[in-house]
Amino acid sequence: MIVATDISLSYEKDKNIIENTNFHIKDKEFIIISGSSGSGKSTLLKSIYGNLAVNNGSLAVNGVDITKKKYQKTLDLRKQMGIIFQDYKLIQDYTIEENIAAPLRIRNYDEEIINKQVSNLLKHVRLSHKSKAYPNQLSGGEQQRVSVARALGHNPKIILADEPTGNLDEYSASIVWKLLQNANEQLGITVLAVTHKLPQNLELDYRQFNIDEGVMYEVS
């Protein structure tokens, strides 16, 4: 699914945040990447969804080499992904159902299918009663559930979650982890979550990596 070979990542020349890192993430795995703030977790995720070019080495997602950023390749790749952000990144002038429908509309789904899918997703994240609300009318936990629903809507092959519970209380965080667990176990979606707060009170079968001083290693 994701194969990184000796990759180095940086925002400025000669100041690598991630250095000579290798990893291999298989299909349908649940991966958690942990590390302290500023360790490069989100940077790594950015390179996987094509927002940051790889300096050295090679990075392939789903068999596609994305080492060099290519506009169309990046768009095609993102269409196979669902991305969840710490700050939710919901579109403020869209209602909740429009936000969830956005990835489906981008992929030209039929309106009938979109309505059905959005309705199912709203039920799944228990927000059917707020379908016409706007993001600023929802709590942080609710917004993150919308974000998860949006990421799941188009049946992605992989979900990338960047600090999905970073802004949430323990109860809301556990709901979000549960939703991600269901996506992985029931729908067979590969989940790659970056977090500094590991899921609590959850029987989750995951593989953990840690990033420290620019080097990523697997935690046994």
């Binding site: 969804y49 927002n51 950023k69 506009y71 990046t74 768009l75 095609d76 993102r78 269409k79 992904m81 991305i83 990144k89 919901l90 579109i91 403020q92 002038d93 956005a102 990835p103 981008i106 992929r107 949006r150």
Partner: protein, 271 residues
């Protein structure tokens, strides 16, 4: 309210640009129509020492037709006042006269060039170009046309900059939405759909305003122009071709501004 304000900020320069373009087209049409009308009445008299048999000698000049003026008619008009010997001499000495109808009504300088061209011909002994009132009026209209052209170019350039600025503001206002949609897999063009829809609404409003103004002015031309001018103005009621040109300009200029900013956005954001 904010939406309305930004809409006006875009619609206003667009209306200014389209109005000046309408005036430019209208003046051009009036001048061209007037020019065509005058060209069919206007002719140059060419005086030749011998008959012009080979018409190709005048090939450098673009003319519709050349009419020979009958010498006998000229002699008939004066023969009663002349003696037999004078009449014989006149018959012998009288040159050949031709009326040259040009394909287009020339400007003053073009007319001088034609005159010089004709005079350089060995058989031609004289040329009368009749620099009449028509020529003076035509010069005035051409001057008006040039002034309107310059004004149109100035308005076009300043309007383009204003449109560019407003689209740039929209790009800034919608930057978060654009980046989120791109993260969801949308192309840059799809992500900027909100901006495109405002531009389209603005174009529609501007076109309706400009067409309404234009047709009101044309229908009431007598109210906005001098009576002396009305008599020389040809019919300009049919503005269908000009209307198409206005629609094309209304679409092309915002499209160029939008495309330029899309390219800039792609370069700046490295997408």
């Amino acid at each position: 309210m904010k939406y309305l304000k930004s809409l006006i900020a875009f619609v206003f320069p667009l209306i200014m640009m389209l109005s000046s373009f309408s005036i430019y087209l209208l003046v051009n049409k009036l001048v061209d129509n007037y020019k065509d009308g005058v060209a069919s009445d206007y002719s140059i008299i060419v005086i030749a020492k011998e008959p012009i048999v080979d018409i190709n000698k005048l090939s450098s000049i673009s003319f519709q037709k050349i009419d020979k003026i009958n010498r006998d008619d000229i002699i008939d008009e004066v023969k009663d006042a002349l003696s037999e010997s004078s009449l014989d001499m006149l018959n012998e000495q009288l040159p050949y006269f031709y009326q040259l109808y040009l394909t287009e009504f020339p400007t003053n300088s073009e007319l001088q060039d034609i005159k010089n061209e004709l005079k350089s011909n060995d058989t031609v002994s004289g040329v009368e170009i009749f620099e009449s009132e028509h020529t003076k009026l035509y010069s005035l209209l051409v001057l008006t046309k040039d002034i309107v052209t310059v004004l149109f170019i100035i308005v076009l350039a300043s309007s383009f900059l204003m449109l560019l600025q407003q689209i740039r503001i929209w790009f800034f206002e919608y930057s978060e939405k654009i980046s989120i949609l791109q993260l969801l897999g949308a192309s840059l063009v799809y992500s900027t759909k909100s901006i495109v829809s405002i531009i389209l609404v603005s174009i529609l409003i501007s076109l309706v305003t400009v067409f309404t103004l234009m047709f009101v002015i044309i229908a009431n031309f007598s109210l906005v122009s001098q009576p002396e001018l009305l008599s020389i103005m040809p019919n300009v009621q049919d503005m269908s071709f000009e209307s198409i040109q206005i629609i094309i300009l209304a679409i092309i200029i915002p499209a160029i501004a939008f495309t330029a900013l899309i390219i800039k956005h792609r370069i700046n954001n490295n997408v």
